[in-house]
């Protein structure tokens, strides 16, 4: 009975392997997977959907998209103090041959390589790019949202010139175009997709929700819903740097402590979902190393400038003085974080500490509160319910703010409620942590600080900032932009819509033999470099 079972298993295994065309490596046998050629990565949750346009906005999904969708251009890699990090200033074509602007920087021409194929065998052509961008506009979701920043709002602005050439005609030139396109130029196999499209579902949403895209650095060899995704390197990648590991298993392990246990035991190679506390411990565990790199992830307290009590700038200042920055870095991040002295992230071009006076000082906090004519204020402090780091931060801030006369009620919210409250702009004080996908102050202003911007949870608006923002669209010169950004930081230091808590380093516990980690500036791992 058992032998028969084994036989069946073997047949199935070879069947699958034959379909996925493993390159170079021997076909995996049914009994022992070749440990050397496969890597195991633990993530906290299974991705919600394979469809990047219409649904799916969880971290696991975004990370996987980066590796299974063919992105036509992507960031290059640079070496900073021995650490490999993605270089946002160096955008290089990957699946594409080139991506170049016209002289006025309004028309960008994308040239495709010939002979690049999807798993179906269909060749990647300009029609695929056009269909994919049409789909993104139709979805009216994320890509459509950020395209607006660079003046792309209509499907007509994307034009097929010939089978291998596509033109993007922007409404205005933008310094952000390469970076924005780097995160938006992913392509579907439109020939295949059209087979599954119906009148009711012209964009094959149903099909893409369940079926992974093909043609990226990796193809999904097998996806066991809720449990595991097996990625196989795409042998058909045309560029110079194909994926280095033939097989990567992405397993879902929700409990952080379980990820840690499995990493210690060597059952997984990379743990993407361990807690800050565990990272500190894992540094000492033999067989495990922690890859650490400075990151542009910002942890901030955003105050609504139109909601009491933070509609008074002095109250905002009081809070900025009442946050125990150093204690937070020491206690919550185990010292693995950089203090930030500006709302502009440390590694963003234009960062400037000038005129940012805020450090932990309860006396100044009380004084600021007194300047507002108050001895005490009360507010809600909103944060993500399932985020342990934010929870700890909230507790610490609550404890210190109380000493300055700011009584905070903690309100952990689930994702849906948080999204709704943020949308209503009715959160007086909230913790946000995140990283901008485009490492540029203009992008930051566009998304977070101009009137009506989507991430402008502070409901902040300042005529001067608006003016600078307008000006920046057409300012392409780096030095001139630097001037503008210095002014931005002066204004923000005076208005304090945000209290910037710190910039935690990126830490990733991995097994010792894992090599080739490249620190992603957007926080989404590029698995192709791993070995």
């Amino acid at each position: 009975m058992l032998q028969l079972g084994g036989g069946v298993a073997l047949l199935l295994a070879t069947g699958c392997a034959a379909g996925s065309k493993p390159q170079g490596a021997t076909a995996p046998s049914g009994t022992a997977p070749a440990a050397a050629s496969s890597l195991r990565i633990a993530v906290s949750s299974y991705l919600s959907s394979w469809d990047q346009d219409f649904v799916g906005f969880d971290l696991t999904a975004l990370m996987l998209y980066k590796n299974v969708y063919p992105y036509l251009i992507d960031y290059g890699v640079t070496d900073v103090n021995g650490a490999q990090i993605l270089d946002t200033t160096n955008i290089t074509p990957t699946f594409a041959e080139s991506f170049t602007p016209s002289a006025d920087q309004k028309v960008w021409t994308l040239k495709l390589r010939k002979g690049v194929t999807f798993a179906s065998g269909n060749e990647m052509k300009a029609a695929d790019v056009k269909w994919s961008k049409d789909r993104a506009f139709a979805a009216q979701a994320n890509v459509a949202g950020i395209y607006r920043v660079i003046g792309l709002t209509e499907p007509d602005q994307v034009k097929v010139v010939d089978d291998y050439t596509v033109e993007f005609t922007q409404a205005f030139p933008s310094a952000l175009t390469p970076q924005i396109q780097a995160i938006s130029l992913y392509v579907f196999d439109s020939v295949e997709a059209k087979k599954h499209a119906t009148d009711a579902d012209p964009w094959a949403k149903e099909w893409f929700a369940k079926n992974p895209p093909t043609g990226g650095y990796f193809n999904v060899e097998k996806a066991t819903q809720g449990q595991e995704i097996v990625l196989a390197a795409n042998a058909g990648y045309p560029g110079p740097d194909p994926a280095r590991t033939p097989t990567i298993r992405v397993s879902v392990v929700p409990a952080a402590s379980n990820q840690r246990l499995q990493l210690q035991n060597g059952d997984i190679d990379i743990a993407l979902g361990v807690s800050k506390r565990d990272v500190a411990d894992l540094k000492k565990v033999p067989g495990v190393k922690v890859i650490s790199a400075p990151s542009n992830q910002q942890v901030t307290l955003q105050m609504s400038v139109t909601t009491a009590p933070f509609d008074d700038v002095n109250v905002r200042k009081a809070l900025a003085y009442a946050v125990p920055y150093e204690q937070i870095i020491a206690n919550i991040y185990g010292g693995d974080a950089r203090p930030a002295k500006s709302p502009v992230p440390l590694d963003m071009p234009g960062y400037d500490e000038r005129g940012y006076p805020y450090a932990y000082d309860l006396e100044k906090a009380k004084a600021a509160l007194a300047a507002a004519g108050k001895t005490s204020v009360a507010s809600e402090l909103v944060f993500e319910a399932d985020n342990e780091e934010q929870q700890q931060l909230a507790v610490l801030v609550q404890s210190e703010a109380r000493k300055a006369g700011i009584e905070l009620t903690l309100a952990p919210l689930d994702p849906a409620t948080l999204a709704e409250r943020r949308q209503k702009r009715s959160v007086p004080l909230q913790i946000t942590s995140g990283q901008l996908w485009v490492n540029d102050v203009e992008y930051m202003l566009a998304t977070s600080l101009v009137k009506g911007a989507n991430l402008n949870y502070s409901n902040y608006s300042n005529p001067e900032i608006e003016k600078i923002y307008e000006e920046s669209h057409t300012t392409v010169d780096a030095a001139a932009r630097g001037e503008l950004w210095a002014k931005v930081q002066d204004v923000l230091a005076a208005d304090v819509p945000w209290v910037v808590v710190c910039q935690p380093n990126f830490n990733l516990p991995v097994r010792e033999d894992v090599a080739g980690w490249v620190q992603p500036m957007d926080g989404l791992a590029r698995l192709r470099f791993l070995a």
Binding site: D278, Q392, L396, P412, D414
Partner: protein, 282 residues
Amino acid sequence: MAETVVVGTARPGRFATVLIVTGSVILAVVALAAILAPLLTGWGPTEIDPLGTLVPPGPGHPLGTDANGMDVWSRLLHAGRLDLGIAVAGVAVAVVAGTALGLVAGYLGGWVDDVLMRVVDVFQAFPTFILALAVAALVGNGTGNLIAVIAAVNAPAYARLVRAEVRTVRESAFVAAAVTSGASTFGVVWRHVLPNSLTPVRVIAPLNAGWAMLTLAGLSFLGLGVTVPAAEWGAMISLGSPDVVAGRWWTSVPPGLVLLICVLGFSLLGEGLQERAEAKRR
């Protein structure tokens, strides 16, 4: 001939007494510790020690500090207030509401019974945590909503229990006697049916309070329980559970043990009462 033959040993009730006494003592100690908590510790339950998080047990902190830098011993003691308070209050509300429902449904019977029991079915079939989130959203945040959750989750069982009992009691001769004595429906229900339908409730309630504490802990573990940084055993376990694998037992083992002991106290009490009730019935 004077030789005595002894058949078996009958000590019914002795173990029940042991159970009841042990359970009561445990609960009394936990309750007392919770009440006297401020006297037994120098730290407040949410006071942060600026000198460190995850400090191992030592002179300053008998059970160390947790990830937030709060004193575990102090939190352990203070948590009893919320845990016991919410569990007992929640079960009390459930008993009152469930009993009222069961009484009405069981005594009136007919369509009233049908409708009420279907409503009870609906609530009972509802998953706990969905009910918890819904109630939290409707009632608002805080201790009150957790009491409401515990009550909503448990009331249907009491409604059933009381209804079944009422249907038996309703048929008994003394109820007939009361009716024929001209007592009003309310009089019959209040003075005769109700007092005689509560025996099973009395037995189940302590067990239920224990389960309520576990439910509460589970809700906290899922982030649906008390708001941080309030001291509550389930929340403490949840916060401390990742530490166990790192060898930091003090953040989650003590609350786990105290929770276990406290629930066990309720279980022992309930088991004892149940045994006594069963012995009486035999």
